[in-house]
Every structure is written in C-alpha cells, then in structure tokens.
C-alpha cells in the first residue's frame, strides 16, 4: 500500500493554512493528481490516442458560519492565495447556515489499517504497444466468430488511470488514497436485414493489469452479443417474469441510492422516508455497503468527508437498515451521520447461475440492457426502456427490442423472487442476476 506523494500533502496543507489565514474558521482540502491514457482501435488501426495528467485542489470553506466549495489547479502559492482570498469574499455574501460544519472528529477515529489492494505497482510498465495489442486482439476475436460477415464495424479500446489524492481538514483529519484501474472493451455493430445496425459490447475492468481477463474472450462475446440482436422486435404488452442480466441490474439498484440519501430525505424527495426498519422488498433483498472489498472500485478507508469507513447492512431480509447520511443533512435531520455515499454493494448471493435461473424461469423476458427512462425518487414510480430476449420453455429464444417496463420501486422489490450467484465484478454495484415476477412490459 503506497502513500500519495509528499507534494500532494503539502498542497492540501497549504490550501487549508491559506484558508484559515485569510479568514476561514475551518476548512478541508482535497488535492489530487490523475494520469489517464486511452487507446481506441477501430477496424484494423488506431482511431485515437489520448494521454494526460491533471492535478488540482478543491476546498470546502467555512467562513463566519457560511459555506462554499471551490476548486483550482494553479498550485503555486501566490495564485492559490489570491484564489482562496476571492473565494472567501464570495462566501461572505451567502446566508449563515448553522448546520454547516466539518464532521465530528470522533467519526474520523477508528479508521481501518488494511491494504485494500487498489494500486498496481506495475502501472508504469504498461506500454503503448501492449494497449494496442490488446485492442487488436479484441477486434481479431470479434471478426473470427461464426456469422462475422454481418459485422459492420468493431471498436475496441484500452484505458488506464492512476489517481492519488490527499484530504486534510483543519479539525484534525489527514488521509490519502492511491488507486489504479485498467479497462478493456469492445463494441461490435452488425447489419440487420431490415436496415437496422444493432450493436452490443463487452467490457472488463480491474485494479491490477495482470488480472485483466482475456481480451480475445471479450471481443468474441461482444460480437456474439451483437449478432444475437439480429431480427429483434417488440412483443405484446403484458405482465411477465423478468430475468435481469447482472451487467444491466446495476441500473435498477443504482436508482435506490438517490432516495436513500440524507438530502433526499430532508428535502422530502424520498419514497424511503419513514421506512427505516420496515420491509421494502422480499427476503432476498439483502445487501451490504462494503468499503473493504479487496481490489474493489468503490473501496476506501474513509469517505468523502473523512468519516472512517464501515461495513453497513443496507437491506437485511428485505428490511431497510441504513440511510446514507452525511454530516450536513444529519444535522438538519437530527440523525447521526453514517456516510454520504455508497462504496461497493455486496449482495447475499443465491445458489443458482444465470443459466439455471433462465432455465427455471420457464416463460419470461431476459433483459440484457436498459435504454433511457427514469425513476422518480419522491414517489418510486419508474419507467425504463429495455431490450433482451424472450425465454420460452426455459431457453433463451428470439431477441426483443423497443420494449419498456414500468411500476413502482416499492412494489418491484417485493416481486424479487431469485438472486443469482454471479455478482458483476466490473462496477461498484456488484449486482448478481436478479429475477422479478409480474413485471409490467409495454411493447405492441
């Protein structure tokens, strides 16, 4: 576990010191530096290369009972001094807000000292040639599948990032984090007989470059997925069982994050208000916010305010256990802060694989992707475009597109009848395949 550079510590400390010197009663600074490299490959050659390093400092200012948040990348002392001075003047124009303070330092305490394994020491050894080679492998594998004659275009790519950050607050917080990510992906467009040009993709991401799965495998999967979309049509409007693929399920679960937040609750924009301790879903709705997943994309030892990270059960056997409350909205609500944002979601997994769930579903729609739509955080009403496949007799059958599902979140999660054994590993929402009964599909 490496530490962020001394330079970033100095930048953050300097920003806090300047804020206090210029008249802030308290301040917290986050200094960060991020390097990003991307290669995009299309149809036999490099399409675009991009490489950049950015750095900057953001600052929360508490001035005479007032609050503002500002950011800048000019890290030289004189420029930073002017910027912070101007920002403090701006802050003084605002209304006093007695709820706005730095976190209670007691909540900084108890930070775990474990190696979350977020940084690959081999990061700098990734060569331009390796990036190109993996991107090319994806295209070659895509073009080698059966039915590849219908392929119009293959785009693939490699992206890697290293970000280090330091947070310092004037009431005694200091902490850093360093992480690397490596993503590969391929998207394949195919020509349909009716003039449509459907596409589909396959992506993978890891913290350690050596753990990237086979690029060729993802190229092949992208091509097979795209080809499987040929001939997709809408089907009749009716209530049916929905088997929701793990790569798409995060969209539904992610819609719960907003209404679970302190801001939504305090602003009367949450259908979860007053629901703590009550059953929201079936007993299968059971998941934990787990910041300590090794190599996880949302893993952390402290949250965005510096609160020591903790595992928290969000839903247990369908019952709501936790809101996501930060310091500010905690004070407004009169509730103890938990954390202002989710880290990684870990589900209590089922026994069955996706294939088995499809087989057991009998007659259903297998949803592999969402398109557009929205979910109303105040009422729980949702309406989302979907595409996927019919399931007939427990077997994946013809592709469907241009369909929609609609209902209310408070009903939907009670209709959760099965959870797969396959958490999606390439996201902070590590959602397995989910099965819901009686979902309202709109089509013809």
């Amino acid at each position: 576990m490496s530490k962020a550079s001394q330079e970033l510590y100095e930048v953050a400390q300097q920003a806090v010191d300047l804020a206090l010197k210029k008249g802030a009663s308290a301040a917290a600074a986050r200094a960060a530096k991020s390097r990003d490299v991307e290669v995009r490959w299309r149809d036999g050659k490099v399409e675009q290369i991009q490489e950049s390093t950015t750095r900057g400092v953001s600052l929360a200012l508490y001035v005479d009972g007032r609050y503002a948040a500002v950011s800048s990348s000019d890290l030289r002392k004189e420029a930073l001094e002017t910027f912070i001075g101007d920002s403090i003047v701006m802050t003084r124009s605002l209304a006093v807000d007695p709820h706005r303070t730095l976190p209670d330092p007691a909540l900084y305490a108890g930070r775990q000292e474990i190696d979350l394994q977020l940084e690959d020491p081999a990061y700098l050894t990734v060569s331009a040639e390796k990036r190109r080679t993996l991107a090319k492998e994806m295209e070659d594998a895509a073009r080698a599948v059966k039915g590849a004659d219908a392929i119009l275009s293959v785009s693939s790519g490699f992206n890697d990032n290293r970000t280090e950050s330091v947070r310092i607050a004037s009431n005694g917080f200091s902490g850093d984090s360093v992480g690397t990510t490596f993503f590969i992906g391929a998207e394949v467009a195919v020509k349909d007989a009716d003039g449509r040009r459907p596409s589909d993709s396959s992506f993978a991401g890891v913290r350690f470059v050596g753990e990237l799965p086979s690029a060729a495998e993802h190229g092949r999967i992208a091509a097979e997925r795209a080809l499987s979309r040929l001939g997709a049509k809408k089907t009749e409007s009716k209530a049916l069982t929905m088997v929701l693929d793990n790569r798409a399920a995060g969209r539904l679960v992610g819609a719960l994050a907003g209404p679970l937040s302190g801001q939504a609750l305090q602003q009367k924009r949450s259908f979860f208000e007053g629901k703590l301790g009550q059953p929201i879903g079936s007993k299968l709705l059971h998941l934990t916010d787990d910041p300590f997943v090794r190599k996880g994309f949302g893993s952390r030892l402290f949250d965005g305010e510096g609160l020591a990270a903790r595992q928290r059960v969000v839903f247990e056997d369908g019952v709501l256990h936790t809101y996501f409350i930060d310091t500010y909205y905690g004070k407004k609500l009169g509730l103890a802060p938990t954390t202002g944002g989710m880290s990684n979601l870990s589900w209590r997994l089922g026994e069955r694989s996706k294939e088995q769930l499809i087989k057991d579903a009998g007659e259903a729609i297998y949803v592999t992707g969402f398109i557009g739509g929205n979910s109303n955080a105040t009422t729980g009403d949702y309406s989302l475009g979907v595409q996927g496949f019919m399931i007939r007799g427990g077997t994946v059958a013809e592709p469907v597109a241009e369909m929609n599902i609609a209902g209310n979140q408070l009903e939907l999660w009670k209709q959760l009848v099965a959870v797969g054994n396959d958490p999606y590993p390439f996201s902070t929402l590590r959602t397995p395949t989910l099965v819901f009964d009686g979902v309202s599909f709109a089509g013809l």
Binding site: E47, Q48, I49, Q50, S52, T54, R55, G56, S58, A68, V70, S72, S73, D74, R76, A79, T82, D86, M90, S93, L94, A95, D97, A128, L152, S153, G185, E187, A189, G195, R196, R197, P198, S199, S201, R229, A232, S237, K238, Q267, K268, R269, K332, I371, G372, G373, N374, T378, T379, D381, S383, G385, A401, M403, N404, A406, S440, F441, A442, G443
Partner: protein, 518 residues
C-alpha cells in the same frame, strides 16, 4: 458506447475538473486589464489572457506536426463557472470553478492524437503536442509561417455584462424572489430548491493552416424545483431556463413564468393517473418535444457514426424518410439560445444545416474529419466539452419547421392516445435506431379531448419508423428555453431543441399494463 443521452442538467460544472494558472489571478482581478494588454491592431484579443504569443503557438504546432500529421490545432480555454444554491429558504452554498488549459489535436487521415495540459508553459505545451503527434509516424511537417486572425462573422450572444464581472449581490435577489414567490403561489408547496449557474468562457483556436479564431461564450441557467404535499401524497416538479445571456435574461416575465410553470407542473401530478402501456398515437406538444428529434434523428445524423457505417441513417442521404411537410434543421444562429455558437470548437462558421428537407434526408452534421471524408464543407458541428477532449460532430439547436396542420385539429384527431408536454431525459442506440424520451407531464387524449393528466412515463420507438409515423405537423413551432445538455462519449455540450405540435401515429408508451388502455 453508442448510447447517447440528453438530460436536464441542474448544476453547471460543479464537479468538473477545475483549473487555473498563471493568467488567472490577473483575469480575476479585472478582465479589463486583460483586454487592455492585448487589444493590438487587428491582433488576437486573448493572447495575454492565456499568456501566449505567436512564437509559442508556432513551436507547439511544430511539435504537433513533428511525426507527420496532416493537420493540428490548439484549443485554449479559460472558463470561470459559478453556482449559487438556495435550499430551505436561504442561499446557503456556493460553488466556483476555474478551468484553464489547452488541448492539442493531431489528425492523420481519420486518426486522432490528443493531449492537453493545464500548465501553459512552453515545456508543458511541447510535451502535450508530442503526445498528440504520436498518432502519426512519418516525416515532420512544417508549422505555419504566419498567422491570421479570423474573427467570427456572427455575434449571437453579445452580453452587456460578463458573468465574471457580476457580483454575488446582483444574483442573490433572483434566488430569494423565486423562493418567496414559489411558496406564495400554492400552499401545497413544502420545499423549494434553486440553483443559479453562470459561466464566462473564452476560447482561442490556432491551427496548422495559420488560422487563429477567438470567441467569448457566456452561459447562464437557473433551475427551480419544488416538492408539494396533498392529502399525504408528495410530488416533485421543476422548471428550468438557460441561454447565452447576461443578467437581463432574468426579466420579470421570465421569473413569473418559472414560478407558474414549476408549481403547475408539480401540483397537477396529484391528479395524474398511470399511463397506459402499448402502441398508440402520441401528440408532442410544441417546444421541448424537440427531444423527439434529438433522439430519433439528430444523433443518427452525426457524421462520425455514418462514416463508420454504424448509424441507422448510413446510406440514406437523398432518400425520403418522412412526409413531404416534414423539414428538420440543426443550427446555431438563434440569438442567445443555449445551443447558439458564433464558431464551433474547430473554429468553423456555424450556420443552418438541413437534416431533412421536405421529407428527404439531406445533410449529415460534420466536423473537419467527416467533412473531409465525404468531400463536403464542414457544417460547424465540431464541438467538445472542454480543452480536455477532442471535438466530434454534435448537435446545436435542433427543431422541425412549422407544418400545415393546427394544434386543435391534431388533438381532436386522436381517439385514444397521449399528449406529451414536459420531459426530463432521453437516449438512443445509434445503430439499432431505438430511442426513448421520458415524459414527466402529459395528458390522456380520449375521443379527441385532453381528459386526465399522466406522469412519469417513458416512450420508446425506432428512429426511422417514428419519422414515417409523423403524419401531422402544426404551425406553432416553439424553441424550448430549458437548459438541455447532450451527452455523447462522455462529453456534455449545451444544446437547444424545439418542435411544433406533432402527431406520431403510433409509438410504444411505457405505462403499466394494468392501466386502462387509452
């Protein structure tokens, strides 16, 4: 990757990477000083603002072309953004960001190398240029010997007062007034939230043909959201306005309309019934219904998808795609519009582009790369979110010209259907052509009359099929004043949209199958 969306952005640039540099403190201390230092006879206005000169630019372009690229450009940007927010009755938080940087692009055929830096020193600029240069692999090209300033011919957003010169005390009364009036408008209103956003952006583009283009681009938007309660039920709604305007944008008329619309759109939800499910006629109200065009055809006409053969509109130029009374335009010439531009982000002139003329597919939306590919003139659609990104073909303001029908006639023609009036977001799959838009407010049409309000329903269709299904177009074209932001490939750009009242004869409404059908 081919999923493009549009959404109402409530907050501008708060989370964006925010940057400042050597020129910054001077500029913040007084823009007048920055101009005074630079206003040479016919020379670039903004060299001093960015702390650059011709020698430095020539050196960077030489490095960019050092591996044999066909073309290179530098995109300097300085953008100061600020946001004031009101919650629980007071303006109790503010956000400020400064972005200053330069992007270097090298083009070789249809291949692109890109690098950027926030450090505007000679060394950092050279390094970014060399990074971008690596897309090519050939003998070095020569940078331009001389530069010429090519001023934008248009002036579509000449503001009297620049946002970086506006004091907080001038903005705060707007938020406080909106708050008081919204509570006063209806006792059912329980919460009001407002965000007031503005930015002042300066761009300077220098390219390997020796052209230098500059523009000053103001923007403001204001979002007014409210939560109302009635008999234990709660609903939220909002209204939002945006434009390349100054403080005078917030006229009495506009503030009155914001309050009226935000409250009306929220409280009517208490009367709403669930929308039905399935195919039926949908009447799109004049104004923000332009989201239909943005998703059903606009993205599919962006020429990058077409030159790659991955758009459902590839190979359809010159072919009939809609009824003869359907004409669709994308343009950037409306004064003060959110989607207005004097020049695009490649320095090209911005005019009007006919996507569909009298029912026939006419012109794709081009950037330099696609224009060269098709052997046509660029259409001024090369846009980017900031100096951190390479440009690509993007929409500006997309709308349909008025048609031969009347609004009342169109509604009266529908036996069972939906009248869609207010939207929050949409999305499209470019190749398959399937697209959606989310209806926040609408009405059931029964026997030619608007009967009950409906809410929160997604509508899904297929672009070319829906264009064919547009069988009535009214004479009441309206361009929406809302703050739309279009997302593509991770880049957000401000856009406008509009539509006359239009009937789509059949499209899938994503209501609940249990609900009464039409």
């Amino acid at each position: 990757m081919n999923e493009q969306g549009i959404s109402r952005r409530q907050v501008l640039h708060i989370g964006a990477a925010t940057l400042a540099s050597s020129a910054l403190s001077d500029v913040l201390a007084g823009p007048a000083k920055a101009y005074a230092a630079t206003a040479g006879a016919g020379g670039p206005l903004y060299f001093a603002r960015f702390g650059v000169d011709e020698t430095l630019i020539r050196g960077a372009l030489a490095a960019a072309l050092s591996k044999g690229g066909d073309y290179a450009d530098l995109y300097f940007q300085h953008r100061v953004g600020s946001s004031f927010m009101l919650e629980d009755g007071s303006v109790n938080r503010a956000f400020k960001s400064v972005e200053l940087g330069v992007g270097v692009r090298v083009v070789k055929g249809d291949q692109v190398g890109y690098g950027f830096t926030e450090d505007l020193t000679r060394e950092a600029l050279q390094q970014a240029a060399l990074t971008a240069a690596a897309i090519a692999d050939g003998p070095s090209g020569a940078p331009p010997e001389r530069f010429h300033v090519s001023d934008p011919k248009a002036s579509r957003y000449a503001v009297k007062l620049r946002w970086d010169d506006v004091r907080p005390e001038q903005k705060l009364p707007i938020l406080n007034q909106l708050n008081e009036r919204t509570f006063a408008a209806d006792p059912r209103v329980k919460k009001v939230s407002i965000s007031f956003n503005d930015e002042a952006s300066v761009i300077l583009i220098a390219d390997s043909t020796g052209r230098i283009v500059e523009d000053f681009q103001p923007m403001t938007s204001c979002y007014l959201g409210c939560v109302a309660e009635q008999n234990g039920a709660r609903e939220q709604g909002a209204y939002n306005v945006a434009g390349r305007e100054d403080l005078s944008f917030y006229s009495e008329d506009r503030l009155t309309r914001m309050v009226k619309e935000a409250v009306a759109r929220t409280t009517i939800l208490f009367e709403a019934v669930p929308a039905p499910a399935g195919e039926m006629p949908v009447v799109m109200a004049a104004g923000s219904s332009g989201i239909l065009l943005h998703e059903a055809i606009g993205h599919g006409m962006e020429a990058d998808f077409n030159r790659k053969g991955t758009s459902i509109y590839s190979d359809k130029i010159g072919k009939p795609v809609a009824k003869p009374f359907v004409s669709i335009i994308d343009e950037g010439t409306q004064p003060g519009a959110r989607g207005a531009l004097n020049v695009d982000d490649e320095g090209n002139e911005v005019g009007k582009t006919m996507l569909v003329q009298d029912g026939v597919l006419t012109t794709y939306l081009h950037d330099n790369i696609s224009a060269k590919h098709y052997g046509v003139k660029p259409t001024g659609n090369g846009r980017r979110e900031s100096y951190q990104y390479a440009p690509m073909p993007r929409m500006r303001s997309t709308y349909m010209l008025p048609g031969p029908h009347k609004k009342d006639e169109i509604i009266a023609s529908v036996k069972h259907g939906i009248y869609a009036t207010n939207f929050t977001n949409g999305q499209v799959n470019i190749g398959a052509g399937d697209f959606t838009f989310y209806v926040k407010n609408g009405w059931l049409i029964e026997d030619g009359k608007l009967t009950r309000p409906v809410k929160d329903v997604n509508i899904i269709g297929n672009g070319p099929k829906v264009l064919e299904q547009i069988d009535m177009v009214s004479d009441d074209l309206a361009i929406d004043e809302g703050g739309w932001t279009c997302g593509k490939d991770g880049q957000g750009v401000p856009v406008s949209q509009g539509l006359p009242t239009v009937r789509v004869a059949s499209i899938t409404v994503g209501g609940r199958s249990g609900a009464k059908r039409g």
